[in-house]
Amino acid sequence: MSDQERILKFQIFRYNPQKKGDKPRMVTYEVTEAPGMTIFIALNDIREHQDPSLQFDFVCRAGICGSCAMVVNGQPTLACRTLTSNYENGEIKLLPLPGFELIGDLSVNTGKFMRAMSERVESWIHDQNADKVNFEKLEERMDPDVADQIYELERCVECGCCVSACATKRMRPDFLSAVGFMRLARFALDPRDKRTDQEFYEIMGDDDGVFGCMTLLGCEDYCPKDLPHQTQIAYLRRKMVFVK
C-alpha cells in the first residue's frame, strides 16, 4: 500500500426512474484515496460530501450478504470488498448490475428476483415429516462429508453476479440462471429433500432451465464465492437427461 495520496476518478451511472424527466447519464466524481479504501468507503464519501442523492446498496460491507454487486470496470463483483488500490490508473467506472430491475443509480432489485427464484425452484426441504419432527429426540444423523458438501453449495449469497454475467439470460428473459441451478443442486444433494428426479425435471428440464445453458460460463468466472457452477450445471444436465 503506497502512502502517497492519489485522486481517484469515479465515473458513475446515474438515473433515478422515480424522478420525472431524469435521464440516464455518466457522472464523474473525484475522491482522494485513503489507505485500504474500498468502493464501499469511496461511494459513501461521495454521498456524504458531494452528492447526497447517490443510490447504492450495502449491508454487511464484509463480502457476506451479497447486497452490493455492481459492474466495476466492466466486471460484475462485490463492491464492498473491492479495494480501490486494485486499479492502477485510479479510474473506476461503476454501472448497476444488468439483468435486474433498476431502482436507481447503482441500486437494483435483486431481492425481488431472488424471491421469485426461490419460489420457482421451491428452495426448501420437501419432506412431509419435516414439520412433524420430534425435536426432543436426537436429530436425524447425516454423514459428515455430505453435510460439508451441502454447505459448499449453500455458500451462495444471491448477489446476482452470475445472472448479470450470463449470456443465455440476455436472450431468454425467463432463464433460471446459475443461482437457481446451484440452489437445485444443493437440494438434490440433500438426503433430507425427498424430491424425485422427475420432480426436479419439472422445474428445470427445459430451455429456460438447465438445457438452455450455452455453457459460456460467465457464472463460473464471476462468482464471488467461487462456487462450482460449471460442475453443478453439468451434473444437473446429466441427471436430467436420464429422466424418463
Partner: protein
C-alpha cells in the same frame, strides 16, 4: 391513506423476525414481514461462529446439559440477566437447533474416531465416540465450560438465515422489502402496527395489526466503528422509545468483540480462538495467560476485550497509522482447517487486508459488536407497558444476556426467542380483536407526513451526515470499553447539543421518493436519542458489570446496582430520557450472584445473596431425591409454551 391490515406484523426480516412470523403463520394468522433489505441479506447472515445448544454429542461436549449452559449464560451476564428467561432459553435451544436441522441447515457433524485439534496452543488428538457419528457437532467458544457452539463451517448465520427465509417462502409469508417502519401506531396503551415508508417510492403507508413485533437487531452503528451491518442503526428500538410508553432496558450494556480487523472493524469470528487461535502483542508474546491463567484467550468477551485494551495501554500494542492493535494468530491451525472451517475469515483477510492468515498474523482490536440492551419485554416477549408490542432477538431486552453476551448465544437467542415469543404473539392474536379507530391511524400518519414535508421545504439547516458522524465520534471516544464519569457526563452534554441540532436538519436533495439523504434525516434524530439513552444510562450506573466497565467504580455492586435500567422518552421536546430501575430479585434466583472467576473478585454483595444461598441449600436438603428437573422446578419454576416443555434427548443418557 393507504392502510394494510394483518394479524401479525413483524418488523425486521432477520432470524428472530422470520421465526416469529413462521410461528404466527403456523397458528393460522395473517402475517407480514417488513424489511429494509431482502430478508436473506439481514445481519443475521454475518454470524460466523455458531449457535450454542447443549447437545453434548462431541466428546468435548460430553456431559453437557441445560444446567451447564444455564450456568455459563448467567455467569457470562455477570448476573445481570433475567434467570427465568435464561432458563427458558437453555431448555429450548436444543429443540431449536434440531428443528432447524429438519428444515435444512447443514450443521457440521461429528465424525467418529481420532482427530487433531489445537487446545491451549498445542496439538492434541481427541477421539469422537462411535455412537455420536453423524450427530451435530460443536466447537469451543469463550466463557463456556463445554464445547457447545454448533456450526456449519464458519457460515452458521448464513445457513440458518437461508433455511429460515426458505421456510418462510415455503409458507407463503410475504416479506415487504425496502420498507422502513418510522413510527408505531398506538392508542390507550395498545400498539396497533406502524407507519411505514417505502424506500423506493417514498410512499407512507399504515400497516395496522393486532400484534406488532420489533426484530430489527442491534444499535451498533451508534458507534463509528462497529462489526455490525450498516443497517444496524437501532431504528426499531427508537420507534418504540418514541411512543413514550414502551421502555428500553439496559441500553448502556454494549459489547465489544475482541477480534475485529483494523481499521475497518469487520469481525473475525470467536471460532478463531475457539479452534485454537492465540492473541499476541507487538513482541509476538502470548499475553492472555498472564491476565487470565485459567481461560486465557477463551475468557468471556468483555474480559478479553478489556485485557487487550489494558495490554495496549501498557505500550504492548502494535503501532499503526490507525492506532494500536494486537495480533490474532491462527497460523498454528494449518491451511486445511482454515480453508474449511474458517474460510470467511480467510476471505476477509485476503480481500480487506491483502494477507493470507494461514501464514500471516491478523491485525485486530476490540470493536463494538453487540447490543445487550433493547426493547424491554416480559418473558413472553411483550412490552410490559405497551400492550400488543412484542420484540425478539438483539432488538429486545428479553434479557438473557444481562451485561455480557456469550459468543454463540446470539443466533441461538434469535431462533429460540422467535419460537417462544412467536407462540405468545399467536396467543395474543387469538385473544385480542383489532379495535383501533381510523382517526388514530390518521393522526400518526399526519404526524409523519408533516415531519417529512418539513424536511423537504427547509432551506437551510443541519447536514444529517455530519450530525451522525459527530454522534458516532462521541460514542467512540467517551462511551467505549472503559468508561468514566467525566467522559460520560461530557458525552451526555455533547449529545444533548446534537439532539437540538437534529431538529433543524435541511436537505440538499429535496425529493420525497428514493432518497438516501432523506432516509438519513429520518434516522439520525432517532439514533441520537438512542445514543443519549446509552450514554446517560452508563453515566448513572456507578459500578462495573459485564461489558459496562467504569474506571471510577471498579467493583460490581450487587448491593446498589443489581437492577435493570429502564429508559422512556415521554416528552418529545426533552433532551434526556427518563430513567428508572427494576430490581432483580435475588430471592427468586436459581443461581444467586457469585464470582465469574476472572481477575480479582471485588463484588459488593447484596444481603439477599447469602440468604438465598442458604435457602437453596435447605431446599436441596429437603428434597434429597430430586433430579435436576425437579430441582429446577423448585428453584426456578418457569412458564414455557406447552410445545416446548419436553425434555431433550442426548446420546449416552437419554432424556436424563
Amino acid at each position: 391513506m393507504k392502510v394494510i391490515y394483518t394479524d401479525s406484523l413483524v418488523i425486521g426480516g432477520g432470524l428472530a423476525g422470520l421465526r416469529v412470523a413462521i410461528a404466527s403463520m403456523q397458528r393460522g394468522f395473517d402475517t407480514i414481514v417488513l424489511s429494509l433489505v431482502p430478508a436473506k441479506r439481514s445481519h443475521s447472515a454475518a454470524a460466523q461462529g455458531g449457535m450454542q445448544a447443549s447437545l453434548g454429542a462431541t466428546i468435548k461436549g460430553d456431559g453437557d446439559d441445560e444446567e451447564i449452559h444455564f450456568g455459563d449464560t448467567v455467569r457470562g451476564s455477570d448476573w445481570g440477566c433475567d434467570q427465568d428467561v435464561a432458563r427458558m432459553f437453555v431448555n429450548t435451544a436444543p429443540k431449536a437447533i434440531r428443528q432447524l436441522s429438519a428444515w435444512g441447515v447443514p450443521w457440521s457433524r461429528v465424525r467418529r474416531g481420532d482427530r487433531e485439534v489445537v487446545i491451549n496452543g498445542k496439538k492434541v488428538t481427541i477421539t469422537e465416540k462411535n455412537e455420536a457419528h453423524g450427530l451435530i457437532t460443536a466447537r469451543d467458544f469463550g466463557g463456556t465450560k463445554k464445547w457447545r457452539t454448533c456450526y456449519t463451517s464458519d457460515g452458521a448465520g448464513h445457513t440458518m438465515l437461508y433455511t429460515m427465509d426458505n421456510k418462510a417462502i415455503q409458507m407463503g409469508i410475504p416479506v415487504h422489502e425496502r420498507k422502513e417502519a418510522i413510527a408505531l401506531i398506538h392508542e390507550d396503551g395498545v400498539c396497533y402496527g406502524a407507519i411505514v415508508r417505502d424506500l423506493i417510492t417514498g410512499e407512507l403507508m399504515a400497516y395496522v395489526a393486532k400484534a406488532t413485533t420489533i426484530a430489527t437487531g442491534g444499535y451498533g452503528r451508534l458507534y463509528a466503528i462497529s462489526t455490525n451491518a450498516v443497517i444496524s442503526e437501532g431504528i426499531g428500538n427508537a420507534i418504540a422509545l418514541e411512543t413514550g410508553i414502551a421502555t428500553l432496558g439496559n441500553m448502556e450494556a454494549v459489547q465489544f468483540h475482541p477480534t475485529a480487523i483494523v481499521p475497518v472493524g469487520i469481525l473475525t469470528t470467536e471460532g478463531c480462538r475457539g479452534d485454537g487461535g492465540l492473541l499476541l502483542d507487538k513482541d509476538g508474546y502470548r499475553f492472555m495467560p498472564d491476565y487470565e491463567p485459567d481461560k486465557k484467550e477463551l475468557a468471556s468477551r468483555d474480559v478479553v476485550s478489556r485485557r487487550m485494551t489494558e495490554h495496549m495501554r501498557k505500550g504492548k500494542g502494535v503501532p499503526s497509522r490507525y492506532g494500536d492493535h494486537l495480533w490474532l494468530d491462527i497460523t498454528l491451525l494449518g491451511r486445511k482447517h482454515i480453508e474449511k472451517n474458517l474460510r470467511e475469515v480467510k476471505e476477509i483477510c485476503e480481500y480487506f487486508l491483502g494477507i493470507d492468515p494461514v501464514e500471516e498474523l491478523i491485525p485486530v482490536r476490540p470493536t463494538q459488536h453487540y447490543s445487550m440492551g433493547g426493547i424491554r419485554t416480559k418473558a413472553s416477549g411483550e412490552s410490559p407497558t405497551l400492550k400488543g408490542l412484542f420484540s425478539a432477538g438483539e432488538a429486545a431486552c428479553w434479557d438473557m444476556h444481562g451485561f455480557n453476551r456469550l459468543g454463540g448465544n446470539s443466533v441461538a437467542e434469535t431462533v429460540v426467542a422467535g419460537m417462544i415469543v412467536g407462540e405468545y404473539v399467536a396467543d395474543y392474536c387469538e385473544q385480542n380483536p383489532l379495535n383501533v379507530s381510523t382517526s388514530t391511524i390518521q393522526h400518526f400518519m399526519k404526524q409523519e407526513e408533516k415531519k417529512i414535508s418539513d424536511l423537504l421545504v427547509r432551506d437551510f439547516g443541519e447536514n444529517p451526515f455530519e450530525l451522525k458522524a459527530a454522534m458516532q465520534k462521541i460514542m467512540m471516544d467517551k462511551v467505549g470499553i472503559f468508561r468514566n464519569g467525566e467522559d460520560l457526563e461530557q458525552a451526555v452534554e455533547d449529545l444533548k447539543v446534537l439532539n437540538q441540532r437534529a431538529k433543524k436538519i435541511a436537505l440538499r436533495n429535496r425529493i420525497s421518493s428514493s432518497n438516501p439523504e432523506l432516509v438519513e434525516a429520518i434516522r439520525v434524530p432517532k439514533m441520537i436519542k438512542l445514543a443519549l439513552c446509552v450514554a446517560y444510562g452508563a453515566w448513572l450506573r456507578t459500578e462495573s458489570r459485564g461489558a459496562h466497565s467504569r474506571e471510577d467504580y471498579l467493583e460490581r455492586n450487587d448491593r446498589d446496582w443489581l437492577k435493570r435500567t429502564l429508559t422512556t422518552w415521554k416528552d418529545d421536546s426533552a433532551d434526556l430520557p427518563e430513567v428508572s430501575y427494576e430490581d432483580l430479585d435475588i430471592m427468586k434466583m436459581e443461581m444467586p450472584p457469585g464470582s465469574r472467576g476472572y481477575g480479582v473478585d471485588n463484588t459488593v454483595h447484596h444481603p439477599d445473596t447469602a440468604r438465598r444461598e442458604q435457602e437453596i441449600e435447605e431446599i436441596k436438603k429437603a428434597n434429597p431425591g430430586a433430579d435436576r428437573f425437579e430441582l429446577q422446578q423448585l428453584l426456578n419454576p418457569i412458564t414455557i409454551p406447552e410445545k416446548f416443555k419436553g425434555k431433550n434427548e442426548r446420546i449416552g443418557r437419554g432424556f436424563k
